[in-house]
Amino acid sequence: MLTPALLLSAALFVIGTLGVIVRRNAIIIFLCIELQLNAVNLAFVALSRYTGIEGQLYVFFVMTVAAAEAAVGLAIIISIFRHYETVNVNKFNVLKW
């Protein structure tokens, strides 16, 4: 059951990448990043059956980093929304070359 799980993980990661590129809503972009992290978690869990329990530990760490990232990212979105009244990433282009 390892190969199907890795294929599913790859599919989820690719869909997440697609979402990050094609969407302009900052919240959806964050959701798609979470989707990518989850795809990697799935690969870790699937491989932990073959390499040892450490794979599941790394999933634990990745989840913590994802939670921290979501908290800080959403705070940044709130802060940006206060200035621009939108979450469309095309509107905040000050840092763009």
């Binding site: 890795l6 294929l7 790859a10 989820l12 969407r23 491989l47 959403l74 705070a75």
Partner: protein, 179 residues
Amino acid sequence: MTDILFILFAVVAVGGAVGVVVGRSPVASLLFMVATLASVAGIYVLFEAHFLAAIQVLVYAGAIMVLFLFVIMLLNLGHDYRADLRYGSWSLLSLVVVGLTAGVLMQGFSGDTGAALLENGATVAAAIDAAVIEKGAVGVIADPLFTDYVVAFELMGLLLLVAIVAAVVLAKPRGAGEG
């Protein structure tokens, strides 16, 4: 039985992931995401990672998704139905990037390093199952977490503290509560 369940969870996960990308309302995308996370938790159970499945449902599908929902409702974005897809050169770029990513990921399955992995897979899986019976589903994670990985664990706590402080500082209105 596990194969049927795996296919069911996989279909829901991929369908939910597509729904996240194409959903027109942020709330719809979020609910699709919850479906994806729940079915990934189901797949964790199929791989005998019961503790991670519980954490996935509690922390991811519960806490983090509710945090997203709070922000969507706080900023009143729930009825933002304008299509916000990028078109033109962006769609071309996305196809190139997605194609390259898929190609690189598929490359990993064609190598023959997997054969050795599958060979000792049975013994490793048996060892994990024995440890689960001996220490329980939580103990088998907690044991290495508080011995070999205790520094990483403490740093994780520090990271969460920094993230909380940063979130409060960033989300606070400018000038509110300061001198």
